[in-house]
Symmetry: C2
Subunit: 294 residues, 2 copies
């Protein structure tokens, strides 16, 4: 039980056709190297438009199914690979989501995940664009296993990874768009990148699951000129069930296929039986916002 | 708002008086270096007796208050430091806990924490000795802040750290007894140690809290001779609120004072506002054992 996972780390421009054609080429390369599953970065069709609040950016949104699931569905069927897309979903007028879609190897939509935790800080104005997901944390069953797909900001919340694991996810997958604000100092940049790696590695450890995080790379200016723009830090990576790094990219455009051993979950959970010992009788207050003042 | 925290990493023998006298000396050294709080490793008065199941080991248990809180209470008062003890608590006949006790700088008992997650695997037969804690995850308010004291196996459960944070903990503190089984290979040893560091660093990150983990060190034989014994791996450490390592010991006996900046929690939680964005409406199933089969 091994799975070859293709990781496509890509930089994006304002030219959507060009972005998509680069993604298609990278997916083809991954498939040629034997990938059965290929994961793309967050919101991969466009620039990371959330650097500013601009109603015209809602034009980038599309329905699911829609043009992207059609286009990538054909590719999935042609290559016989499962694809994890990350789309700006238009559900109806005034209702948009940041949605990951899983296409089966026959090109059909097998499931989707609407990003549950929505960030909002300078350069990442996502609360303007995305309604928080209302479908909870449900793994998506595919022909190669149950995928716990989460998106970017979700990666900072242990609760999300845990719920996916409790619902039978066999791998955690994080399409991501994260980078440095151009004015961050070198020390702060190092701490941020290391924190990002560390907390996701910890989700793998806590849940005895392999994990794949696929990030954007490249610089994108802030078109509002309020900030210096974002340098997406790449560093897409895969970990084993003990959080050990199996593969990690640099900051440049890259794609690769990582071979993940799915039998290690059974093995590590026998030795580190966290699921046996969770104090489910004592966790009910995790649903509270804060508890200090009663 | 800074706090000088003394970390006492110690190896232990079957001679309790000797163990305690070494601890007292190390605590004095930390106090002399300006520590206001000193943390000891898990079950620091004795050998790690849980390597075997032996009813005679219940003789090591003591009441709280009892001899250890008396002895260390005098020391706390004399030195004007807060102490975090880790004791084998006898609550009544047939009811024992693995209990951390916090002594104020005046020597009084200000609070205790009964270990909630109890491990049980070869060499760590804790379920035989310790009844799981029934007091939940409650920070202990001291004159230097609210301490989220957790113990060893708790460190693998993000739920525990989160609940302490939600209840206003200002620092996470983990007295610990963890090491390598003597037959573990070098690669496995490295993965285990790194996983231990990583998951605790992630608790600091997820909650925007500094964290101190204080481990035993040294080799202790398995008196039942079923295993090769445990080499406690030391590596006691402190992290800042981004999970950055502030200080880390080696595998030998050591003590030191770490200066922790408590103002960084406010700062980092403004930039990484995870508490704002937790999906408390979607976490209720964290109280379940498993969810895949309905």
């Amino acid at each position: 039980m091994r799975m070859k996972v293709g990781i496509v780390q890509q930089a994006f421009s304002g030219k959507q056709a060009e972005n998509i054609s680069q993604l298609v080429e990278a997916i083809r390369n991954c498939a040629a190297e034997g990938a059965v599953l290929v994961v793309l970065p967050e919101l991969h069709n466009t620039l990371y438009f959330c650097q500013r609040e601009d109603v015209s950016c809602f034009d980038f949104a599309e329905t699911i199914p829609g043009p992207s699931t059609e286009l990538f569905g054909k590719l999935a069927r042609e290559l016989g690979v499962i694809l994890v897309l990350s789309l700006f979903e238009k559900r109806t007028a005034g209702l948009y989501h940041n949605t990951a879609v899983v296409l089966e190897a026959d090109g059909s939509i097998v499931g989707y995940y609407r990003k549950m935790h929505i960030p909002d800080d300078p350069g990442y104005y996502e609360k303007f664009y995305f309604t928080p997901g209302d479908c909870g944390f449900e793994p998506i069953a595919t022909s190669v296993g149950r995928l716990g797909i989460l998106v970017c900001w979700d990666q900072w919340f242990p609760e999300a990874a845990r719920l996916m694991a409790l619902k039978g996810a066999e791998m955690l997958v994080y399409p991501t768009a994260i980078g440095w604000e151009i004015s961050d100092g070198t020390d702060e940049q190092a701490r941020q990148l290391d924190a990002w790696l560390t907390i996701q590695r910890a989700h793998a450890i806590a849940n005895g699951l392999p994990l794949v995080a696929v990030n954007r790379c490249g610089y994108e200016p802030d078109l509002s000129t309020h900030t210096g723009g974002i340098r997406f830090w790449g560093n897409s990576f895969a970990t084993g069930v003990q959080g050990e790094i199996l593969f990690r990219m640099g900051e440049e455009i890259d794609s690769c296929v990582v071979d993940i051993d799915l039998t290690r979950t059974e093995q590590i959970r026998r030795w580190w039986p966290f699921f046996r010992d969770r104090r489910t009788d004592a966790y009910s207050e995790l649903t509270q916002r804060y508890l200090k003042d009663g």
